[in-house]
């Protein structure tokens, strides 16, 4: 555990798609998140777009 204050913690959406949980690191200079396990790089919005593609939520048909 590092001593930095953790305000936001997101998991890599690429790794999550493979059911692997890897916490993203944040590059303050570039303002982007990146994964240490794979090659994912993206903004917070792109992280959430990735999450959105993971599990579709189709409308329930009756």
């Amino acid at each position: 555990m590092q001593d930095e204050k953790i305000e936001e913690f997101y998991r890599c959406p690429y790794c999550l798609a493979k059911e692997v949980e890897i916490g993203l690191l944040f590059d303050e200079k570039k303002g982007e998140y990146y994964c240490t396990r794979c090659c994912f790089v993206g903004t917070k919005e792109e992280v959430f777009e990735g999450y959105g593609r993971l599990i579709p939520h189709p409308e329930v048909r009756h």
């Binding site: 590092q2 001593d3 930095e4 990146y34 396990r37 090659c39």
Partner: protein, 592 residues
């Protein structure tokens, strides 16, 4: 300057489908139209057909192609030898029978023995047997770089063939372990090892090596190329040829393609039809021909011709053992900016991840001379991988990095990104410099640069240098930390018996028993771990000035050992902490 391109075709004709021969002829025409000569790796069921063998001989005569031998077992051979397994998993005595039979059949077909042989994997006993029985053999396609855990997790059928921890380029396989390059002429088998394919040196580590290679079929499977976009492949070729910059003018690119991938009868394991693959294959070869035409240092070679040159050349130097190679790879698949720096020689292989502040994420101690072979009479069965002592992906916590602290704030360099800034070479060493990492330690802003000097005797010198600081009077503590383990997969191997030591006046030592014990002492000469399972010692030593040492044995839920050197210095420009990491065979230096 010599940038070598080797083109390899394997004619594949499924039993009962002789018409597939036509696809191989199409593939050959494709290469020859571009003026490219080809190494033909031919299985038994092809060259036993007299008219096909004649055609192959004509390729040798007319186009300068080379005919080599592939050690595949078709149905007939499986029946003859009572073996259903892959060649490289057969018991050794059975393997010798198969080799002798195929060499004689090859001679019957072509009037000579082959000088190039191929199998996805060949261990040291196999290569030694071949060289002793058939001394004219020069080249062996003998490994699939980094095939192992990642492939096994990802592919649909079981794929029990592990050969991680080896070379990515041509090498001199050693007598004790074919994946480890020979450190000296005595260890050298005398055959030049060639990897099955070139690989993407980030994706083959992070992901599946079989998806990201110089084989077109692999790139179609991973959706890395398509009919409308071949840019990944072109960047891949360019990046490989550019490696000459870091390797004294030498680079190597091999492209192997089985003809069945271009045939309509191959069960499609990618989503495009075969005619798309054919179209892309034509483009692929045209691009390689263009590289040859545009760059006078590019030479297309067959494998025997290449192996003879390599053994006598700078990079091979069979009279001195394996010379160091470096591969600096930037991500071209996802354009993430990520870089890996790979280094290999006869004593070690390591991988530095620039996304993790220039930390070492994989370390293989060839210096330990771990003997291994594969097959049903080997204790290792399918697992031919050379053991790691650091592996950040398979074993997550395992990494070699540096923690930095000041003003109550502590951060690992592995949580910051950097990029390489220079790779230079001198006789016997490679120096890797990285760009400084910016750290804000509760208002103390420091830029810290990491440099590695890798000596070809299995020694690393690690420099942490303060490039800039907002407060020169501040104190900053650096903890040089190796979190180690050993194994070949993502499961922990037994660590009982590993010895950890703080070497100073009044030595302190722990024997790994999963009790989570820690020891700390000031002014250590060195700290170390001895792993008896692979007879390998790791020694971390402060250079120039003494440091505090810290060792931890770990426990079952977190089974790693940790070695740490701790040093506090003034946060002043130019101040450095220099440490040595030594890999050695055998126990601790003063205990032998």
């Amino acid at each position: 300057m010599k940038k070598v391109i080797a083109i390899i075709h394997i004619p594949e004709v499924f039993e009962g489908h002789p018409e597939m021969w036509e696809t191989f002829l199409w593939q050959q025409d494709c290469a020859h139209r571009q003026g490219l000569k080809v190494t033909l790796i031919v299985p038994y069921d092809i060259f036993r057909n007299p008219s096909w063998a004649e055609r192959l001989k004509a390729y040798e005569r007319e186009f300068g192609d080379e005919i080599g031998l592939e050690f595949g077992l078709n149905g007939e051979l499986q029946k003859k030898f009572g073996a259903r397994d892959s060649f490289y998993h057969l018991p050794l005595s059975k393997r010798w029978e198969v080799i002798r039979f195929l060499f004689e059949e090859f001679r019957r077909a072509f009037g000579r023995y082959p000088t190039t042989v191929a199998s996805i994997q060949m261990d040291a006993p196999t290569l030694k047997f071949i060289k002793e029985e058939y001394p004219k053999v020069e080249a062996a396609i003998a490994t699939c770089f980094e095939e192992g855990v990642n492939v096994y997790h990802g592919c649909t059928p079981a794929w029990f063939n592990f050969n991680e921890g080896g070379p990515w380029w041509p090498w001199l396989p050693s007598k004790y372990n074919s994946l480890a390059p020979a450190a000296n002429p005595e260890e050298n088998i005398g055959i030049v090892g060639i990897p099955w394919l070139n690989r993407d040196m980030i994706q083959s580590f992070d992901s599946r090596n079989d998806w990201y290679s110089s084989e077109l079929g692999d790139l179609l499977r991973s959706k890395s190329v398509s009919e409308g976009d071949m840019s990944y492949l072109y960047n891949f070729i360019n990046q490989w040829l550019e490696q000459a910059r870091y390797n004294r003018g030498f680079s190597f690119y091999t492209m192997l393609q089985e003809s069945s991938w271009l045939d309509s009868r191959k069960p499609p394991i990618y989503d495009e039809p075969y005619y798309v693959a054919r179209k892309l294959y034509e483009k692929y070869l045209a691009f390689l021909a263009r590289k040859r035409d545009e760059d006078p240092s590019v030479e297309v070679m067959c494998l025997t011709e290449f192996a003879k040159w390599f053994k006598g050349s700078g990079p091979g130097r069979a009279d001195q053992g394996q010379q160091p190679y470096v591969c600096l790879w930037r991500d071209i698949r996802f354009a993430s900016g990520k870089q890996y720096l790979w280094y290999i020689d006869g004593n070690l292989r390591l991988t530095i991840d620039m996304n993790r502040g220039g930390s070492i994420v994989d370390l293989r101690p060839y210096v330990a001379k771990v003997e291994k072979f594969t097959g049903i009479d080997s204790p290792h069965l399918y697992d031919g991988s050379y053991p790691y002592v650091v592996q950040a992906h398979h074993r997550n916590h395992s990494i070699y990095t540096c923690w930095v602290s000041s003003r109550g704030f502590r951060v690992p360099l592995s949580s910051r990104r950097t990029r390489y800034s220079d790779v230079s070479r001198e006789e016997g060493l490679v120096r890797v410099e990285t760009e400084p990492v910016l750290l804000d330690l509760n208002g103390l802003v420091v830029r810290l640069r990491t440099n590695y000097v890798i000596h070809s005797d299995g020694t690393l010198m690690v420099e942490r240098e303060i490039v800039d600081s907002s407060d020169r009077s501040a104190q900053i503590t650096l903890e040089e930390e190796l979190t180690g383990c050993w194994g070949t997969t993502d499961y922990p191997a037994d660590k009982r018996g590993i010895k950890l030591k703080l070497c100073r006046e009044g030595n302190q030592e722990l024997e790994f028993s999963y009790l989570g014990r820690e020891l700390e002492a000031p002014n250590v000469r060195w700290i170390g771990a001895y792993i008896p399972q692979i007879d390998c010692s790791l020694i971390l030593r402060p250079l120039e000035e003494p440091a505090s040492g810290w060792i931890e044995e770990g426990y079952l839920f977190k089974p790693f050992f940790t070695l740490k050197l701790i040093k506090t210095i003034a946060a002043e420009k130019g101040n450095k902490v220099i440490s040595n990491l030594l890999l050695e065979k055998g126990g601790f230096p003063d205990a032998r």
